[in-house]
Symmetry: C2
Subunit: 415 residues, 2 copies
C-alpha cells in the first residue's frame, strides 16, 4: 500500500482524523476566495484547503507549474495528480514543518472558499450500468417484454450527454420546459416529472489519440478521480423524445457533480472484486480482477434520507465502461466525465431515482417533515453523499453534491 493511504498516518491538523477529508484522502478541487476570483487548485484536508498556488509560490513544491493550477484540473491530472498528492501528504504529515515557510502555511478555511467546476469537461458520457435500475425501468415502461434489452449484458450501454451544463454542486437547477405528451398530443411547458439520478462518475486523466484504444488492464491508468453525480432528469420530456435516438433535452438541462475529486490513489484500498458476470463478457471487457468500488451512497431530499445503497453492486465496472467507450478509437481527453447511470440496489429503499422510489409516480415517498413526494417540487433540495469506510469510524468522504430546484422561467406558454 502507498504510504499516503496508511490508516495510521497522522496529520498535524489534529481535527483531520475525524473528518471525511483525513490525510488519507486529499481530494483535489478548484476554488476562489473573496479577494481573488481566479479559480485555483486546492487539496481538501479536514475543514481546510491547501492552496496549491500558494504552496508552489512558496517554493515548497517544485512542480507542477503555476499554469497547471489555474482555471481547472485538466492539465494537472494529465501531468499526474499522484505525485502532487503524495507531496501534499508529506507536507501535512505530523512532524513535517516545511509549510511554515509559506504565508499562513498555504492553508485557508473551506468555509471561506467558493468551489468551481473541477474540470473543463470535454465530453460527458452517461452509462446505465445498474442491473436493478435497468430492470426497474424496463418493468415500468415495457411491462410485456423482458425487462432487460438483449444487448444489456453484453455492452455497458451508454450515450453522450451535454458537457456545457455539467455544473458544480450548489448550482441551482432551473425546472426545464419542453414537450410533454398528453391525451390530446404534445404541449410545451414546464416538466411535471422532474427527477434525480444518483450516480458516481470519473474524470479521465491521461488522454488518448484518435484511433487509440484502451486495453482493459490499462483502464485504471486513465481514471483520474471520482465524484458524486446527480443526473437531473425530466421524465415527461424524456419519455416523449427518446425514441429512437435516446435522451436529449430530458437530460441536458443540468448535471451536478461534487466539487472534490477523490483520486484513484486515495481509493486504492477500496476496490473489491465485482460480482461474476453471466454471460461472461467478450474478451476485450474481461477484467482480471474486475474492480468495483466499495462506496456507500445516500440521497437526502429536504432533510430525509430516501435512499441508501452501495456502488460496489453495479453490474458494469468503471474499467469496463472506459475500455468499451474507447474501443472504437475515439479520442479521450483529460477531463472527460463518465457517469455510471443510476445506482439502484435490490431493495426498494436502495433505488437511486424518484421514478423508481415512487414506482412511476404510483407510490408516495414520505418525508420526515410530514410532506410527501412522487417527483420534485420547486424549492426542493437534493443532497447526495458518499464515503468509503476506512474502519475505526474513519471515512474517505466525497463531500456532497447538492442542488435546489428553481421554478420554470415562464408559465409554459412559450419561450
Amino acid at each position: 500500500m502507498d504510504a499516503s493511504n496508511d490508516p495510521g498516518l497522522r496529520c498535524w491538523l489534529t481535527a483531520a482524523a475525524e473528518s471525511e477529508f483525513p490525510i488519507q484522502n486529499l481530494p483535489f478541487g478548484m476554488f476562489t476566495t473573496a479577494g481573488d476570483d481566479q479559480p485555483r487548485a486546492g487539496v481538501a484536508i479536514s475543514d481546510q484547503i491547501v492552496d496549491l498556488v500558494a504552496v508552489e509560490r512558496g517554493g515548497v513544491m517544485s512542480f507542477p507549474t503555476e499554469t497547471m493550477l489555474r482555471d481547472n484540473l485538466n492539465e494537472l491530472f494529465e501531468f499526474g495528480a499522484g505525485p502532487v498528492r503524495r507531496r501534499v501528504s508529506e507536507l501535512l504529515t505530523a512532524g513535517n514543518n516545511e509549510l511554515s515557510r509559506v504565508d499562513n502555511r498555504g492553508i485557508l478555511s473551506r468555509a471561506a472558499a467558493t468551489m468551481h467546476m473541477p474540470f473543463r469537461v470535454g465530453d460527458y458520457v452517461d452509462f446505465c450500468s445498474s442491473e436493478q435500475h435497468a430492470t426497474n425501468v424496463g418493468r415500468m415502461f415495457r411491462p410485456n417484454d423482458p425487462p432487460l434489452m438483449p444487448n444489456w449484458k453484453h455492452i455497458p450501454i451508454g450515450y453522450h450527454g451535454r458537457a456545457s451544463t455539467v455544473a458544480v454542486s450548489g448550482t441551482p437547477v432551473r425546472r426545464p420546459a419542453g414537450q410533454r405528451l398528453g391525451a390530446d398530443g404534445p404541449t410545451f411547458g414546464p416538466s411535471r416529472r422532474l427527477d434525480i439520478e444518483l450516480e458516481v462518475g470519473f474524470f479521465t486523466s491521461h488522454p488518448t489519440q484518435l484511433g487509440d484504444t484502451i486495453p482493459i488492464a490499462a483502464a485504471h491508468d486513465h481514471i483520474g478521480g471520482v465524484v458524486l453525480v446527480n443526473d437531473w432528469s425530466a421524465r415527461d420530456l424524456q419519455a416523449w423524445e427518446y425514441r429512437p435516438l435516446g435522451p436529449f433535452l430530458g437530460k441536458s438541462f443540468a448535471t451536478s457533480v461534487s466539487p472534490w475529486v477523490v483520486t484513484v490513489d486515495a481509493l486504492a484500498p477500496y476496490w473489491v472484486e465485482a460480482a461474476p458476470q453471466d454471460p461472461a463478457p467478450l474478451p476485450y471487457l474481461a477484467a482480471t480482477p474486475n474492480r468495483a468500488l466499495d462506496l456507500q451512497l445516500e440521497v437526502d431530499l429536504n432533510g430525509t434520507v430516501i435512499c441508501r445503497t452501495n456502488f460496489k453492486d453495479m453490474y458494469w465496472t468503471m474499467g469496463q465502461q472506459l475500455t468499451h467507450a474507447a474501443s472504437n478509437g475515439t479520442a479521450i481527453r483529460s477531463g472527460d466525465l463518465y457517469a455510471s447511470g443510476t445506482v439502484s440496489g435490490q431493495q426498494p429503499d436502495q433505488f437511486g431515482s424518484l421514478l423508481e422510489l415512487s414506482w412511476n409516480g404510483e407510490r408516495s415517498i414520505q418525508l420526515d417533515n410530514g410532506e410527501s413526494r412522487t417527483f420534485l417540487e420547486d424549492g426542493d433540495t437534493v443532497t447526495i453523499r458518499g464515503w468509503c469506510e476506512m474502519g475505526h469510524g474513519q471515512r474517505i468522504g466525497f463531500g456532497e453534491c447538492i442542488g435546489t430546484v428553481l421554478p420554470a422561467k415562464d408559465d409554459g406558454g412559450g419561450i
Copy 2:
C-alpha cells in the same frame, strides 16, 4: 441586401469571380503554413487566403485583437464575424489598395496552407431532420410499423454526439472495431458496415447562459456559419447498441467537417421558405418565415457522384433545431456544432447514405471505375461538396469535406 453580397461586386483578384470562393463568399477558416505551426484565422478568396493576423499586424484592420485570431474561431465568432467579413470585403474590392501596406498584401496561396478544425467544439448535436431519411430507415428496420415515430413531426429529433472526434476534412477515418451481433451472439471486431451520412451543420456564434432559451425569431442571431458534415457511421455497431439510449460508438469514432465556415451573412440571399409543416409545429417552433437553405449537395465516392440532392427540402430547419435544442435552458457556447442529420431527397439517387443507396446492403452501388459497393471498403475516399447558386454560373461554394478509410488496427481479436 448587404453590399458584401451584391453579385455585381468585383475583387481585384481577377480570378475570384470564377471561383466557388468569390468576394461574395469570404468564408473563415483556421490554417497553418510550413514555417508557422500556430493555427491562425484566414478568409478564403479564390485560390488564396487572406491572413487575418498579417492584416491585423499591418494595421489595416483595427479589430479584432490578435488573440481572437489564434487557435480557433470561437472568440472571433462570439465577437461577431460579420463586421470582420465586411471589412475584408472592402479591402478586396476592386479599387481598394489598402492591403498594399501589408507584406505580400496579407495574402498567400491556399495550396501552401494546411487547414485545421475551425472551432473548438463545445458540444456536438446531431439531428435527424430529413423526412425521407427517417422514413427510409423506418421502412428498413421496422417494416411492420409506421415508418415515422409518433414524435417525429412534433420534435426535431436529435442526440448528443462526441465533440472530441469532430475533425477537419482530410483527416483519415480509421475503421472502428466494436460489437456486432451475429447468429451466435455478439462478437468484437472491425465494422463490416461502414457508412457515411451527408449532412450540413452550423456552428453557434453568440452564447447563452444556463437557464436561457432562444425564441424562434432570434435563432439565426446565434448561427455563426455553415459547413458540410460527414457523420461516419458503423451500422452494425449502431444497430446492436442503440436501444434504448441511442447511437454511441457506432457514431463517435469520426465526424468530418469542411474547413471553410460560410457565414450566415454570406448566405443571406439563399434562404427560401421551407415547405409547410403538417401538423403545424407547437408555437415555440413556429417560425415566420421558416427559413430553409437552398444549398446544392453531392457525394462523391472514389470519383463517382453517387448522390445529388438539395438541403432546402429538409423538414426541420436550422432555426427550429436551435430553438428546440435550447428550449430546456441548456447553455449554448460559441463553437457548438449542430448537424442536420442525413440529407435525403425523395428520389433514390438523392439518398445521403450508403445504407439507403444500397437499401440495407440489398442493392449494389455501381462506380464509374467498374467497381461496386454496398458499404465502404478500406481505402475508399468520400468527398462531399456543396454550393449555393448565385446565377450566371457563379457559386457561393462550401469547398469539400473529404475522408479516406484506413483499415482497422488489428484483426478484431482484441484491443
